[in-house]
Amino acid sequence: MKKIEVSRRKFLQGSVSLCVYASSAMAMPLATTKTSKKNAEDVPYLCNMCRNKCAGFARVEENIITKLNPNHYFPKSRNMLCPKGNAAIQAVYDKDRLKYPLIRMGKRGDGRYRRVTWDEAYEYIKDKLVKIIDEEKDNRSTVAYCNGEGFNKDEYIKFFGSKLGSANFLDEGSICLNTKLGATQLTIGDVGEMDVAGSDYMIISGANRYESLITPDSVDMLHAKQKLVVLDPRCTMTAIKADEYLPVNPGTDLAFCLSMIYIAIKDELYDKAYVKTYFKDFDKLKKHILSKKYTAKWAESKTHIPAERIKRITKEFFAASHPLYYLGRRSVWSQNDFQFRRAMVLINALAGSINRKGGIIFGKPFHLHEEEINEPLYSNTVDRFDLDGIVYGSQKGGSWLNFREKIVTNTSPYPVKAMFIRKHNLMQNMPNIEKTKKMLNMMDLVVVLDTMPSDTAVMADVILPECTFLEREDMVVSFNRLEPSLALRNQAIKPMYESKSMQDILKGLGKKLSVPLFKVSAKHDADLQESIKNYGKEKAFTEGGYNMTELYKYDITTRNKKLITAQFGKKVYDSLKKRGVWHPYIDTQKEIFNNYYEYYPKEKRHYTVERNYKVHCYLKKLEKHGFDPIPAWNDHYDFKVPKEAFRVITGRYVTTTQSATANNEMLKDFQEENYLWINNDVADSLGIKLGDSVAVMSSVSSIVIKAYPTNKIAPQVLWLSHGFGIHAREMTHAFGKGASDNMILEDKFEKIYGCATMHETNVTIRKL
């Protein structure tokens, strides 16, 4: 029986404002499709609606995706798809998608583009790049490049970093979780993974696992027999569901942690055997903490959490058999962020919850072999500058705010003249949007690879339409440490319109750029000139690694097949093609209840592995740079808001992924615009009612947003979700809905990892 209803809106895709001179008559499937057809093709894929990857099967009928279902083979995603995962179909069939290569005609930001062929687009980029790199005498770092998508990031870096040679790569880490990764790495020598399912007592600070879903953590929390304690300045869904909710002043979680450490040491609650074996400089920690007198009473004055509760929870935590202080993220909040994340790691360590069940585990991830490429050496290339003045910083992803600041103030050691931006909505993703705009306007060339006409895309000179994740195969990925698995994103449907996968885009670009850029190097690079003299031009080019398409000699399917079969064998490859996933127990995994599976048998999970590591209490490098080598409280960390002002904090809805899902026609039905959460008593006194428009003013700018008076937020705090207030008219569903947090957030960053501190802006409000 075959029955596909096609009626709702079989809209013909016509010219959009973004693409004035372009038109096409490619039919789009309707918004939702009902089908009773049996034997449709089920293509295993990996979701990309957020950074967290879940596995699913796409039902494909006549090259149309009619439904997405969860993949029960994937240990990480536990046979579920979230609302965004389910609504990914709408991302594929979004009528506002970028469809063709475009070259800017009007001013940056006004959205006037002309449709061009891929070759024209490459040609345009080539001409500009040759000129720019020539001007900069082959300092390849004048071309900055950035990426906001988890998949293909390494390949993207190989192209622009290794092959093109730029040192200036930026990613979302410095506006996301670098402090957490850094704090864990520096304290226990690894970023680890948290065994939520194995923990019987869990404390979460701020991370909102029931609205910002992370698999398997969010799912495991639902089923684990554990006590859950949540600290948050807003009563989130996670707080509602917690066994105990501790309302806390924004940015003061560190004081709570310090007090826990103080009580644990003073009352000797910590795991003495563990500390003795693994801790380095425990005496320094002990002396420091005790001398600072971080008592519960003291912490109460900072956090607003009653001292008695702090004491009781500390006792309960250290008495539990598998306690875990969950290392959450939800961006970087304040200047003490790194110290706060480190204090959480230390608490876990004091409880002995490292490298064991229910703690931070090291596990045994599968290490995939790298595809080797030949990297050219550019002797005129200068190193990155965005980590100047930052203690550690991520050598990989850098510091966005420091980078931007140096550009717009002309204090960078050399000019950055071009920027390649892939799936990274700069105009929405970091505080102070005006500054981002200024930075982009200073570029001679901005190229955007994306699927949507985002606020950033409309600032580009050249837009290269990438296909969505359901239209492409990607390289195999290794997931998790406790129950490791491999997963492969297969191609569900062919790329729509003229969009291409990143690999195909880079391949085309590489073909166009390799020789002309080599010539620029040959002009300026003494080492290369020497090499040409010795080996001849051709050999210098090939053996020097100047062929930028080296990685793309084979198509992605062939590359995957070669890589996987070589390392794991054909059976694993077949499983990845058929089921999208492979793990050693895939044939014997069993359903425990209601479609919920046990993947690795308990005794086979990598709770504890052999590893030599130390818990570093004291970080000398920090002291050298004038920061606390052991987490400590400084007076300027105190939560203080002037009278009549508010501290604004951000987060997101369960149905949104930052600004990436803003235009999703399905998801907008749940959250069409964001509201400003304001304490109901405060709102009463200001005469503000649900839905009233209020102006929110900071030192940066102001926004207008609807109010939501609620008892679920502290009196001096305001909350709004990130990802709204889209400026690009081309995003027809999202344009003009709600307001953007980054319009008003002040662009401050902490100096240990160079991360933007998102919760340090005070604002005033006015009812309109």
Binding site: R8, T32, M80, P83, Y210, C235, H304, V654, N711, I713
Partner: protein, 188 residues
């Protein structure tokens, strides 16, 4: 031949809306917030002052057609368009529906709405004409649920998971005073 029902471990719900999106995509429901076969409602609210909130009463309830064994909608339909199918699911002969909306008026659960695409009244039918028709054994909402709180199966089969869970755990139905004998159960 079965007697399908559903049980909800409702306290696990985190109101993520995955079920609703999956349902709309699976069953071709029109987009638009007002069109839905199922929804989650927030029972009670978080009460009190922010620093001392009472979260004890709030829960999130899975709402949809309750599959009444004594269905008011069926009795109210002037055209006999509503029937119980061989799997015990209250269904609609679409060609007989005249959109009097007597069924909407009669339903105590607000389960029905007007499907503007097909010009009939519509409600949850356990994916009977999509997933079940294709021989699958789960509903779209059930399989996608992160909490796996939706148990779906044959109430007449003693060995089905839903029968077992209903035997093991206390449960209740909605608006029992309406005498509709729902086949949707909420696990205490």
């Amino acid at each position: 031949m079965a007697n399908y029902g559903m049980a909800f471990d409702y306290k696990l719900c985190i109101n993520c809306h995955a079920c609703e999106v999956a349902c709309k995509e699976e069953n071709g429901i029109d987009l638009g917030a007002k069109n839905h076969r199922l929804w989650i409602q927030e029972d009670a609210l978080v009460k009190g002052d922010f620093w001392d909130l009472d979260r004890s009463e709030i829960s999130f309830m899975q709402m949809q057609c309750q599959e009444c064994q004594d269905a008011p909608c069926l009795k109210a339909c002037p055209n006999g368009a509503i029937y119980v199918d061989e799997n015990g699911i209250v269904r609609l002969h679409q060609d007989k529906c005249d959109l009097t909306r007597a069924c909407m008026e009669a339903c105590p659960y607000d389960a029905r709405y007007v499907d503007e695409k097909n010009h009939v009244t519509d409600k949850c039918i356990f994916c009977a004409d999509t997933r079940l028709a294709r021989g699958e054994t789960t509903t779209a909402c059930q399989i996608t649920c992160p909490a796996k709180l939706r148990y779906f199966g044959d109430l007449d089969d003693e060995n089905s998971e839903i029968s077992k869970v209903l035997k093991e755990r206390e449960h209740f139905t909605l608006k029992p005073e309406a005498g509709t004998k729902p086949k949707l159960f909420y696990l205490k």
